[in-house]
């Protein structure tokens, strides 16, 4: 049976194109939950979020309620930081949530900040998303005018100030400690943990960093009740998630579905199947940092369960981006472009990542442009092993943050699924070079 979407956080944007105006948002029931939440005991909200089983939607999948409960009970001020620096390749859900329903995010911030007893929240918005910035700024102004943000909100005695902070083009600032550094006016380089941000984060104060989708879900959890939300989904992956499906599908887009449906249902039933009635050659299930899966039945019938995909196939649902490629795609070219991305975005703090990503990119460039050699693939695995020893999933790392190990995923996947194809092509390009005497070092 064909599956359909389960709209919770995308419900309002489906009902109206005008949600960024506060009057429309309120007419659709907006800010009602925030008013109710401000009459509740903050600890009950935290409990409710814990019961719901909500896990971070930005990539890590860490339980949100647990993250909140790490805050030391008596240290103030504390900050809530919203990670809207959406930069993971092919993820576009937060962008849509902000452009089409900015008030939902603000309402989520009100509820969450109240729950963790924070009076100041920052939204770290990716710099390139100019329209999202305009929409969010306008929405925040409107919310301030209506008294939903500011001092003594709705007579509850709770004060909240929200600051929108534009980033300036650095993928690494999506990593929470790098984001905090950037928010402090520094170069966006990750920090060593411990101390964790919950103890000493922004300005060395207790800080919670949450993704846009996570925070947008909070009002709905308060509304439904944590136990009701936990009934949705499968196993420890409760609720719904937005999946950004892109690539060679007929209907690329964001789809909010109950966790637990299969990749096949997501790709065929919702995203309209492969263009020109083609077949899936491979797909990347969780943003560029995840390892790949192929078009085999075993992979396509795997349920969208954050834990099961990891234990069975060593991949992750990550940021919820699903990139689908048909038979015409050259996997080496895709791997090269991903490696180029990581080489460009490596912040340069840790040597294995700074140097390793550069080598991965250079060698994959020659392999994808007909100048590969037979030893190249094994050499790449060796380079990768220095960044992520063992090349296992979940990965180990010799770096501070996961960017380095993420860059290795594409190489591991090439080796796992396309080793024969890669070796054949590299062998033929090498022998061609030897025959023509053009076998000098390739300059890239």
């Amino acid at each position: 049976m064909a599956v359909s979407e389960t709209r919770i956080i995308t419900r309002r944007m489906n009902e109206s194109d005008d949600n960024h105006n506060i009057d429309t948002y309120i007419s659709l029931g907006g800010y009602e939950v925030a008013k109710r939440a401000l009459r509740m005991n903050p600890d009950d909200i935290v409990e409710s979020v814990k019961t719901s089983g909500l896990r971070g939607r930005g990539g890590g999948g860490f339980p949100t309620g647990m993250k909140w409960s790490f805050l030391p009970p008596d240290l103030f001020p504390r900050y809530l930081v919203i990670n809207a620096d959406e930069g993971e390749p092919s993820t576009f859900k937060d962008h849509m949530l902000i452009v089409r329903d900015p008030h939902q995010l603000i309402e989520g911030i009100i509820c969450s900040a109240y729950a963790i007893k924070s009076n100041k929240a920052f939204i770290y918005l990716r710099g390139e998303l100019a329209l999202a910035y305009d929409r969010l700024s306008t929405a925040l102004e409107q919310a301030k005018q209506k008294g939903f943000v500011g001092n003594d909100i709705d007579g509850s005695g709770f004060d909240l100030d929200i600051v929108i902070h534009r980033g300036a083009g650095a993928y690494i600032c999506g990593e929470e400690t790098a984001l905090i550094e950037s928010l402090e006016g520094e170069r966006g380089m990750p920090r060593l943990r411990p101390p964790f941000p919950a103890i000493a984060g922004l300005y060395a104060k207790p800080t919670v960093v949450n993704n846009v989708e996570t925070i947008s879900t909070v009002p709905h959890i308060i509304d439904m009740g944590g136990d009701k939300y936990a009934e949705l989904g499968v196993n420890k992956s409760t609720g719904t998630r937005i999946f950004s499906v892109s690539g060679h599908v007929n209907k690329p887009g964001n789809y909010e579905v109950e966790l637990g449906i299969t990749f096949r249902q997501l790709i065929n039933d919702l995203a309209g199947g492969i263009r020109n009635n083609g077949k899936v050659k491979f797909f990347i299930p969780g943003g560029g940092s995840s390892q790949w899966l192929t078009g085999s039945d075993e992979h396509l019938d795997c349920p969208l369960d954050m834990d099961e995909v990891g234990t069975r196939f060593g991949v992750m649902l990550g940021s919820g981006a699903v990139m689908v490629y048909d038979q015409s795609t050259d996997p080496i070219l895709v791997a090269w472009r991903l490696a180029k991305f990581y080489a460009h975005e490596s912040c340069g703090k840790c040597t294995p990542c700074r140097e390793g990503t550069g080598w991965l990119e250079k060698v994959l460039y020659r392999m994808s442009h007909g100048q590969g050699r037979e030893i190249d693939l094994d050499m790449l695995l060796d380079v990768g092993d220095n960044i992520s020893p063992g090349l296992n999933a979940p990965f180990s790392q010799t770096t501070i943050c996961p960017l380095g190990p993420s860059s290795v995923s594409c190489v591991v996947s090439l080796n796992k699924f396309f080793r024969d194809e890669v070796l054949r092509r590299c062998k033929s390009s090498q022998s061609e070079a030897e025959m023509t005497g053009n076998n000098e070092e390739v300059n890239v």
Partner: protein, 180 residues
């Protein structure tokens, strides 16, 4: 260039929003870029004075971020995505076509960028951070020409709105609903 009186007041208001002044470096750099079209050394010195750190610290921070152009760029900054979804749907062709077409045009700067978070509209690119989606190379040239002639109103090179009607975002609405 130094901030104009109006922008200096804006800058001081921005600093007020943060518990520590240094946090204002990024927003102030955006403001300076809005004003001058790039981030000049003078601007960085003035930012340093406003947030009370050394000019070297401001430059250290700003040089990390790709959106800050420390040399003048064209009035139109065209950012073409060639990351993995756009890669297989024609992004590199758009980049190549635009690069060739505007190689000698001082008003237009073409750059290759990473994923712009609009992959349902791939291949996509931005003109001064306004999204253009699902285009062929020829369409892309037409769009840039429309900006050049003033038919389309551009944002600043830091992406700040110059015409409030753009907030309705006609280009972004198209096809964005997903899962009808």
């Amino acid at each position: 260039m130094a901030f104009t009186q109006e922008n200096r007041e804006k800058a001081l208001a921005i600093v007020e929003k943060y518990p520590y002044t240094k946090s204002a470096i990024l927003p102030l750099a955006h403001l300076a870029q809005d004003q001058d079209g790039y981030l000049s050394e003078d601007a960085m010195r003035e930012i340093a004075e406003i947030v009370q750190v050394s000019p070297a610290e401001v430059q250290g921070t700003c040089s990390f971020y790709t959106m800050f152009k420390r040399k003048p760029v064209g009035k139109l900054l065209v950012s073409v995505c060639t990351n993995v979804t756009c890669l297989v749907l024609g992004g590199p062709e758009i980049h190549e076509t635009l690069s060739n077409k505007y190689a000698l045009d001082e008003d237009v700067t073409i750059e290759e960028v990473e994923c712009l978070a609009k992959c349902d509209g791939a291949p996509c690119f931005q003109v001064n951070y306004e999204f253009i989606e699902k285009v062929s190379p020829q369409d892309a040239i037409d769009v840039v020409e429309e900006y050049k002639s003033g038919e389309r109103v551009a944002r600043t090179v830091s992406g700040t709105l110059t015409d409030s009607s753009l907030i309705e975002g006609p280009t972004l609405q198209k096809g964005q609903k997903g899962g009808e």
